[in-house]
């Protein structure tokens, strides 16, 4: 901590992170006279970047018409997580992430692409675009575990075996055909 004459600000550079309560500033003049302590409002010190600690899907194998919930967990609350923070989403789309616990966990719905058979997929989230409550920018990325997709339905063709050739009918009549007899 340092201060000099005429300054109107005080810089704290050795304080630990966390909540600081009941702080006072006491100024001693050159004559050794101590002023009455100044009361400082309580404050929180946070200089740590937020990081992602988990990206989890509610199902690791999806078939046609199924969706999964994707839960992204941070080590501290962040203000917002956007779709653009999901830097890789294989064979599917995500809904807008929503947090119901103040920003610590975020949940989005993953909808796989139709007619896909792909056993290896991953979702990767970047923390670079998020900030915590102290405006520290996040760092790092985190990838989900693998999930398999098979959204392709089987189709079936039904054909008759040994389809016969067209039936041929040959007329068998005497020639010439006797006509009716005329009376003389």
């Amino acid at each position: 901590m340092s201060a000099s004459l005429g300054d109107h600000s005080v810089t704290f550079d050795t304080l630990a992170e966390g909540r600081h309560n009941n702080c006072t500033l006491t100024v001693t003049d050159r004559g050794g006279q101590r002023e009455r302590p100044l009361v400082v409002n309580a404050f929180d010190l946070d200089v740590t970047a937020p990081a992602i600690t988990g990206v989890a899907l509610s199902s690791s194998a999806l078939k046609a018409d199924e969706t999964a919930l994707v839960t992204v967990t941070f080590d501290e609350p962040v203000i917002a997580l956007h779709g653009s923070d999901f830097v890789e989403v294989d064979h599917g789309t995500l809904s807008t992430p929503v947090s119901t616990d103040g920003g610590l966990t975020w949940i989005a719905t993953f909808t796989p692409t139709a007619d896909v058979e792909e056993p290896t997929n991953v979702i990767t989230v970047s923390a670079a675009g998020v900030v915590d409550l102290a405006d520290n920018h996040g760092t790092g990325t985190f990838s989900s575990g693998n999930y398999a997709l098979d959204t392709l339905r089987p189709v079936v063709a039904i054909v008759r075996l040994l389809e016969p050739s067209p039936i041929r009918v040959q007329s068998r009549l005497p020639s010439p055909i006797p006509g009716p007899t005329r009376s003389p």
């Binding site: 098979d150 189709v155 067209p166």
Partner: protein, 115 residues
């Protein structure tokens, strides 16, 4: 001039048949399970003798119940692939069963138009 007969062969369409049963193949786009005769929809007939399991090609017989059109199709979701996806509905195979022999119904002599 004497009356003459038309001697050109007559052709009938291949959709007609007169045998008691006919065989049908069902070919899936991928390996399926759970396919039984109860998954086959037949109008004016019944399906039986389904052969094949686990593979993508099955055969079965269709026996008509009466004269006339017989259709064979497979509704959706009767068979499942490894992931549990049910099949899409198939196209319909349609054939006409006619086992009645033709009979002569007209015996009236026709007058020679040019005696």
């Amino acid at each position: 001039m004497t009356p003459s007969a038309d001697r050109r062969p007559r052709s009938a369409t291949a959709s007609l048949f007169n045998t008691p049963t006919f065989a049908v193949t069902a070919t899936f786009s991928e390996v399926v399970t759970g396919f039984t005769t109860s998954d086959i929809s037949v109008t004016n007939g019944t399906a039986s003798d389904l052969v094949g399991s686990g593979t993508d090609a099955y055969t079965f017989n269709v026996t008509p119940s009466g004269q006339g059109p017989v259709t064979v199709s497979m509704p959706a979701l009767g068979a499942q692939d490894a992931a549990g996806n049910g099949n899409d509905v198939s196209a319909t195979l349609s054939r006409t069963y006619d086992s009645v022999a033709p009979t002569l119904t007209e015996t009236t002599p026709v007058a020679d138009p040019d005696p």
